[in-house]
């Protein structure tokens, strides 16, 4: 309905209105800040922002989706990231050793993608298992105070996964030097490694596929219907359990994929998921709880904020500055920069 209303008005009017909304101003401001910083410090700022931003977007998207559809504030989201990077490590590392013995250009080009896609499926599988094993029983028992209870459940899950990983594989770092062992490209005078470029392209492709799935397919529409009104969705014959499992699988899969694609920057170790987790939460609170499309933009905004903080203020301050930004945010616009699609931000 919203889309139809937009179509009726001439594009410049819509565009001007959007540019003067909080969201439009933020995006404009972000781009301006990015350009100023790039002129001041060098174009690597933009490169770094865009590469990590794409992956933060995938992560926040999943977090936002699960909150919007299932009403679960997922604290174990970072653990999907961890599982993804572990899967990629254990797939890619043997392959890499094998390739050292018998070089094959085709296989070495395809091996990283193998690891990344496998990570997606392992993550999705974990998501389904968690939904069937944990959230579904809780949903059957009681829906009282669901948000808080499911939040605490995910806390428990996160603790169990982190420490099981530590028990099984120890606390050492499991990383790889790079996915594609080729010379870095020269881009705007910055050395851009192929891994980073691939991570960004992968994020873009995934986002497009995801957008297509949500907007243009029957199943995607069903997911959005459940997000809007669960009872209504049940009434028109949507298989609720299937949609809930699918949502969890998608969210977990995207997070795992992000973890796998960034393995060359973030090695896998038990608490590797913590940082991505709170980045995803920063993004989601910043743009508005449950607002899926805004989460994508938010991913890039937060990535810029982090890059700027670590360059101008120093590493180690990346947690302090975004928290300050969020505090300001909550004072003036608690529903988030782009507004929240979840009903009842204010406690009624």
């Amino acid at each position: 309905m919203k889309d139809e209303a937009l179509l009726k008005e001439p594009f410049p009017v819509v565009f001007r209105r959007w540019m003067t909304s909080a969201g439009g101003i933020t995006i404009l401001l972000t781009i301006v800040v990015a350009i100023i910083a790039a002129i001041d410090a060098g174009p690597f700022i933009i490169v770094n922002t865009v590469v990590t931003g794409g992956m933060w977007a995938l992560l926040s998207l999943g977090l936002s989706l699960v909150f919007g559809v299932m009403n679960i504030p997922n604290f174990a989201h970072g653990e999907f990231f961890l599982i993804g990077s572990l899967t990629a490590y254990f797939t890619f590392n043997p392959l890499r050793l094998y390739l050292k013995e018998n070089p094959s250009p085709f296989l070495s080009a395809i091996a990283p993608l193998l690891g990344i896609f496998l990570a997606f499926f392992v993550g999705a599988l974990l998501g389904v298992i968690l939904e069937k094993l944990i959230f579904s029983p809780l949903r059957k028992r009681s829906r009282d105070q669901w948000v808080m209870n499911s939040f605490l459940l995910t806390v428990g899950i996160s603790v169990v996964i982190i420490n099981s990983v530590q028990l099984t594989w120890g606390a050492n770092f499991k990383g790889i030097p790079n996915y594609w062992n080729v010379d870095p490209l020269d881009f705007l005078g910055v050395n851009l490694s192929v891994d980073r470029l691939a991570a960004f392209l992968l994020a873009v492709v995934t986002l497009i596929v995801f957008w297509y799935f949500m907007r243009r397919t029957q199943t995607g529409r069903a997911v959005r219907a459940v997000a809007q009104d669960e009872t209504g969705a049940l009434m028109v014959g949507i298989n609720l359990n299937y949609i809930l499992s699918l949502t969890m699988a998608l969210s977990a899969g995207l997070a795992a994929m992000a973890g796998a694609s960034l393995l060359f920057i973030f090695p896998a170790y038990p608490t590797a998921g913590l940082k991505p987790l709170y980045v995803a939460w920063y993004v989601v609170i910043l743009v508005g709880l449950g607002n899926v499309s805004a989460a994508v933009v938010g991913g890039f905004i937060v990535a810029l904020l982090q890059t700027l903080t670590s360059f101008y203020v120093g590493t180690g301050w990346e947690d302090v500055i975004p928290t300050a930004v969020i505090i300001i945010m909550l004072i003036f616009k608690p529903s988030g920069l782009f507004g929240s699609e979840v009903k009842g931000i204010q406690e009624r």
Binding site: P73, R141, L152, S158, V159, V160, I162, L167, V320
Partner: protein, 340 residues
């Protein structure tokens, strides 16, 4: 409510109305009193009089006290303070830094340290508690992370990860006096919070926790009561942090990690939300179990956290009342047996 039932149960046994009235006033049931007396003599009974076991007792009482304070918010207004450990850390660092830099006596510092913790809690609450509960949880977590980042980065002040050595409360190497101090602090925490719960405020908390709309319709201002509750919790967290600083004698930013909050949270939930005493009751057997595991299975670090996490999940799904509900049921069952 269960206190009344137990008080009535024990009336015949003690036969002393005034004593029962005193117990009712403090909110401690006769069973609870028995447990406290056992705890009081425990440090003299072998094997509990060994120093390392006394250390376990101190940590258990500290954890129990934290769980009581934690349950005051989670169990009643249904808001999770996910930065609890950081608020405790604020109290610990304030007290420790005052003692190190200004030579303030730790005995005073413990109480002074509670003030900034309560203040930060008040501001966090003011900011988020008008919104849905999840905002408060996530925001408290962010504030906790920011505080952790600050203590790590302000190396000139806090000495960062190198650790700040703080003077201890007492000039003794024995853990026994510390145990009595923390036990007293735990009891004070319990009695004060129980008093608040028993008052008009407690009624408002429960109303808000159960049904916000109904509470508002009855003329309760949810934001006011929630902020009040949250601030009181942070005050106690800071106070207990002061003890932490002057018992261990060393402060590292590690103490503010989210994992610490999760530990308290798990104990509070396993003990039973909305009971206050449940967390303190399970803290003792738990710490003993976990310390025994840790000392026997040194090659498996983090096993205790897996147990915490699994129990938290299981309790949340299958037995939401926790130990307190189990106890209540057991008492009712025993009573049923006797009446038959």
């Amino acid at each position: 409510m269960e206190n009344n039932a137990q008080a009535a149960l024990s009336d015949g046994a003690t036969g002393n109305g005034r004593f029962t009235a005193l117990l009712n006033a403090t909110g401690i049931s006769p069973t609870g009193l028995t447990m406290i007396i056992i705890l009081l003599v425990l440090p003299f009974i072998p094997p509990f009089n060994q120093e390392h076991i006394l250390r376990w007792l101190v940590s258990a009482a500290l954890l129990g006290a934290q769980a009581i304070a934690f349950d005051f918010t989670t169990g009643y207004i249904n808001v999770v303070n996910f930065g609890f450990a950081a608020f405790l850390g604020v109290g610990a660092y304030t007290s420790g830094l005052l003692a190190v830099n200004l030579g303030l006596s730790p005995w005073v510092g413990i109480f002074v340290g509670a003030i900034p913790a309560a203040l930060i809690g008040f501001l966090t609450g003011l900011l988020t508690l008008r919104l849905r509960g999840i905002f408060a949880a996530v925001m408290a977590w962010f504030v906790g992370l920011a505080l952790l980042g600050l203590t790590r980065n302000l190396v000139d002040l806090t000495r960062g990860p190198m650790g700040l050595s703080t003077p201890t409360l007492l000039n003794t190497s024995s853990n026994r006096p510390y145990f009595y101090i923390i036990l007293a602090m735990m009891l004070i925490t319990y009695i004060v919070l129980r008093k608040i719960i028993g008052s008009r405020y407690g009624l408002a908390f429960r109303a808000i926790g159960q049904n916000m709309d109904a509470a508002r319709a009855s003329g309760i201002n949810p934001t006011y009561y929630r902020v009040f509750n949250f601030t009181v919790q942070c005050l106690f967290a800071g106070w207990l942090g002061g003890f932490y600083a002057h018992y261990f004698g060393i402060l590292t930013p590690q103490l503010m990690l989210t994992a610490r909050t999760v530990e308290v949270l798990a104990i509070a939930y396993i003990g039973g939300r909305g009971s206050l005493w449940g967390g303190a009751a399970v803290a003792f057997p738990f710490i003993f179990l976990i310390e025994a595991l840790r000392s026997n299975l040194t090659e498996l670090p983090g096993l205790h956290l897996v147990i915490y996490g699994l129990l938290l999940v299981l309790v949340m799904i299958f037995y939401p009342g926790g130990f307190a509900a189990f106890y209540k049921r057991a008492v009712a069952w025993v009573k049923g047996l006797r009446d038959r």
